[in-house]
Symmetry: C2
Subunit: 371 residues, 2 copies
């Protein structure tokens, strides 16, 4: 029975008269949400500069590319997003550029969720998809695609199980995860992952992503305001992770562990190792588990991929830097296809001496991955 029905039946008291009067007075609801039918309703009011960048919803909260994130010619002619058609990728990337092996780094976004089981499920789903399609018999009869096992590093014990699950597959040749994390990579929290990688002789590839997103901490020592700032400073988290791995003594504890630094740029390695070696000379008593100069661990344990390649105007400076960073042993070519800042193997580098070209463009990777 509603309040109105009740008052119609009984003679109203003074109190119920007052209540009835209140009921007739309209209610005020202090929290109601109007939703645009489409983001264009908002976009029409934005100044021109922002019109095409505005994405609405949760998207674009973190450092979306202001124009486009993909090579604009990389959309497969048979439909689907860039990088989604193995056949078209073979033509556009592999055949056109004489690439004999493509190491896939699925971009999975599984590490930023507070619900670790959700992240684990996403990582597993990506691996099953990769195993079924990209490196399955239909799309990979010649074994040209090798892939990385995706893990959710926010749950290291479960990540180790995911590695165990796929490690026997002949086309899964490394493990990958994102540089965005709650801990720097040398943190002992990650030991179950390092144990699993060591157990199966699989390198662990760090790739930028998820920095500052969800449960992860800031992408650099402060929040960048713009994409260019975030994109330039992606290299900072790679520097911090590498210093962490070296100073925590990770490679003494896990002598079979090998790390690949993917898409975090590369030439910062020179000043950083100068600096860390110098600090080690003065402060090695603080970290007695580190048995030799930090830079001496690199050849046995660390590789770095080339894209995005910083290239100054002066090629001689660049060649000097390649020598100083031991590119001959540490650097492995990468294109980042189909992303917008793709490095073309024909033009990304200045002309290299044949020996160095061979090291960077295939020998280092052949040796490192046992291809």
């Amino acid at each position: 029975m509603s309040v109105n029905e009740q008052t119609a039946v009984n003679e109203p008291s003074d109190a119920s008269r007052a209540a009835r009067k209140k009921v007739k007075h309209g209610i005020i609801d202090c929290d109601v949400h109007p939703i645009p039918k489409s983001m264009d309703q908002i976009r029409q009011y934005l100044p021109k500069f922002w019109k095409e960048r505005f994405r609405g919803g949760g998207r674009g909260l973190f450092y979306g590319n202001p124009s486009h994130g993909m090579r604009q010619d990389s959309l497969p002619p048979d439909g689907g997003p860039a990088g989604s058609d193995p056949g078209f990728m073979r033509k556009q990337l592999l055949e056109a550029n004489n690439i004999k092996t493509a190491i896939l780094i699925p971009r999975e976004n599984s590490c930023q969720f507070p619900d670790l089981d959700y992240g684990n499920a996403i990582a597993s789903a990506y691996n099953e998809w990769i195993a079924d399609t990209w490196i399955g018999p239909d799309d990979n009869h010649d074994g040209i695609f090798k892939s990385s096992i995706v893990i959710n590093h926010s749950d290291p014990a479960s990540a180790a199980k995911e590695i165990d699950r796929w490690a026997g597959h002949k086309h899964f040749i490394q493990v990958t995860t994102d540089s965005g994390a709650r801990f720097l990579m040398g943190h002992r929290n990650f030991h179950p992952i390092f144990e699993a990688c060591s157990r199966h002789h699989l390198p662990l590839a760090l790739h930028p992503g998820l920095d500052g997103i969800g449960i992860n901490i800031l992408p650099s020592p402060g929040n960048p305001s713009h994409y260019i700032e975030w994109h330039t400073c992606m290299s900072l988290s790679f520097q911090a992770h590498l210093v962490s791995l070296l100073t925590e003594g990770t490679f003494e504890r896990f002598p079979d562990l090998r790390i690949v630094l993917v898409e975090g740029s590369s030439t910062w390695l020179v000043p950083l190792m100068w600096r860390l070696d110098m600090e080690y000379k003065a402060l090695r008593h603080e970290i007695p588990w580190v048995k030799k100069m930090p830079s001496e661990y690199l050849r046995d344990h660390v590789r770095i991929t080339s894209q995005p390649l910083e290239r100054p105007n002066n090629d001689e400076d660049f060649m000097d830097m390649l020598r100083m960073m031991d590119a001959e042993h540490l650097l492995m070519f990468s294109s980042d296809y189909p992303h917008w800042d793709f490095d073309n193997p024909k033009s990304a580098f200045p002309k290299l001496p044949e020996k160095l070209y061979n090291r960077i463009f295939f020998e280092n990777a052949e040796e490192f991955y046992g291809l």
Copy 2:
């Protein structure tokens, strides 16, 4: 009257008998604090490795030097901590090393407090102390000491007033603050400070400190575990601050603003500027307020001090790096006296050509500070 006295006087009821029984049952207090008489009481139980590092209390929470933070020969013979006696500093640092001008950077620790007024008061107190002693007539009759105005950058409007207050003093020649902050330095939050510096033609010197302390955000994209890791990665926050200043268009908005990067190391400038210039070529439409290549702003607006100087084994590599970083125009010598990692002007650098020596050891600073 206590409960016990009361029950002695009156015949007890059943209820009071029960209460009396309860009273006799001892109370349990679940939060009581035992305090060591001295930290030695704890220290005696620590393994040898930790015995001398343990400091107790709140100290050492963040990255204390594991042995000693000061040159051990820098304690003034007449007492007081290292760096506290202008007369002794004149002898040990200035006369012994032919230093004609010492630019003081008081280490103030005013920016990490949630209570902004407290931080402001500390900054002001430091400036009054400096004005009264180090650069006052008694200690500075020959004007050999120049100082920096200390500000609390966490309260930019008040910091600007503090700059206004001291800017007329002939021996205050720059403003200083810490790299640890809640915002990257190009953030518009800091505009009042930039306006004040510009108004008085005073450079703003960023010095490491307070990263991750109090209200400030993390020192690098993760919490370093050890001093060596933190100390190596101090350079990361300088890289992030410089990229922020350049991409926010700070030097277009404040054409008279000049920034000095102090003790954040230096050679990282080369790969970082290669990278930022390259990104600018692709992404400049995102930051149309930046009118030229980011690296082109450096000569007019940025200087970098030399200590701690990364020095590789190969002097030729180092000389190449000095050339690539435009040390001839950007680098200014600094010793960091009396800190443990003091760079001796006689030995920090390899032998430099005279012209470059003059630029780095005095000409750049003379021109920049108008000395």
